[in-house]
């Protein structure tokens, strides 16, 4: 259970050192993307168009933030993670094509994403679900917003963060998945619980 303070862009070498249960505090640039953001980024790629920002070595934050515009500049009001499994259909392509090194969200991801993280070198950092003000506090500046036609939650927000965390490494580059480990344990206790409750 090591603690890391990392800055983006993160190298593949560093990301491959991380293990499940490690704690990370992240500084640098991260971008938000939910389903619609993922879909558009992949469409851009298919059409041979450049993304508005080079994602190489950055972190993608599964988040639909609550923002407020004050004197023409944006301020983050609340920005907790959203459920990552919704991005499962696209994340493997995302990791492969854009070389992101970290995915931040809640609830973990499935086999396809886990395999891509192993193959291309990325980790999943779990941020405490709903801890939106804590997240907002670590976001020092809104560097920009792209694809705002998708609406506030779905737009791609480019954020500068400082000591963003704690992020629990829940999927590492070695194929370990903390959520799966817990789930297996839970399934094992199930029969015992039934018995204790007198369930036939």
């Amino acid at each position: 259970m090591a603690v890391y303070r990392l800055s983006t862009p993160i190298s593949e070498e560093i990301v491959r050192k991380l293990q499940v249960n490690d704690k990370v505090y992240l500084s640098g640039t991260i971008v938000t993307a939910r389903d619609a953001g993922h879909r558009r980024a992949l469409r851009f790629h298919n059409e041979g168009r450049q993304l508005p920002i080079n994602l190489d070595g950055l972190a993608v934050f599964h988040c639909g933030p609550l923002m407020r515009q004050e004197n023409k500049s944006w301020r983050v009001v609340a920005a907790g993670p959203t459920t990552s499994s919704r991005m499962e259909p696209f994340e493997d392509q995302f990791i492969k094509l854009f070389k992101i090194r970290m995915i931040i969200g809640k609830g973990g991801m499935g086999k396809k994403a886990v395999n891509a993280m192993k193959k291309y070198g990325a980790v999943y950092g779990a941020f405490t679900g709903g801890a939106a003000v804590l997240a907002a506090k670590a976001i020092k500046r809104v560097k920009g917003v792209e694809w705002s036609d998708l609406g506030m939650p779905e737009a791609m927000w480019i954020l500068e963060v400082e000591d963003f965390g704690p992020l629990t490494v829940a999927i590492d580059t070695h194929g370990n998945n903390l959520f799966e480990i817990i789930q297996t344990k839970v399934d094992k206790t199930k029969e015992q619980i039934y018995k204790k409750l007198g369930i036939k």
Partner: protein, 293 residues
Amino acid sequence: MVTGKTVENVAVKLIQLAVTELPQDVKEALHKAYNEETNKIGKAQLKAILDNVNLAEKTCAPMCQDTGVIIFHVKAGSKVDGLDNVETALRNAAVRATKEIPLRPNAVNPFTQKNTGNNTGRFIPYIHWEIVVGETLEITVMPKGGGSENVSALAMLSPNQGISGFKKFVIDTVIKAGAKPCPPTVLGVAVGGGAEIAMNLAKAALLKPLNQPNPNPELAKLEQELREAANSTGIGPMGLGGKTTVLAVKIDYAHRHPASYPVAVVVQCWAARRATARIYSDGTIEYLTHKVA
């Protein structure tokens, strides 16, 4: 006579209180869980939740970016004058709160997928009405997040499955939900009535203070038994492991049709937000869940 303006102002205040500050009983339950959690990662999650709750309260910011769907419970004294103003006032309050606090716009047309942008729409905010004896108007708001709502479930069991089937369904719902509802959660559980009766009772059970045991001793025992069982799953805070999966279980029931055994489980996340105020006939306002300066 309660005026629309009074109701609107009180409702805006209630929404603001609810989304920025947890009621004392929920805060206490989270602190207790933090003190008792032995799993390191689980404890770190609870620490992050408590830090976040503190920060939200201090900076008057919504504690979670999902400020939920707005649900009102209105207990209307039969002698209150001006009840016909209440519905419009509550809708106006949702619009104002969305701009002023702000809230995330969370009302989407299920056919066109258009977001109204102001947290109002068909049946939204939803208003539950109850007529009671007296001259006061009591308003409760429960902003309900989507992540925990999505794992709520209803089972139409066969009566011969009885209590055993009831317990199994509750535990299975917790296990199936895993990390999704941002545990530790509160479970509103109801049995009997019919499909919608059970669901309504289960959701309303979430409005009861967590530290108040069920007045029915048998049900109080069942609540404790189910809480302990849920906490022995090992799911833990945020599904990352630990012994705090559920902060409290709240049970209610209705008599059932001889052929039916409906069981409803409504899951509430750690952001168990609610706020209540009472408006008296002389215009005095009393906040019941929060301290208001």
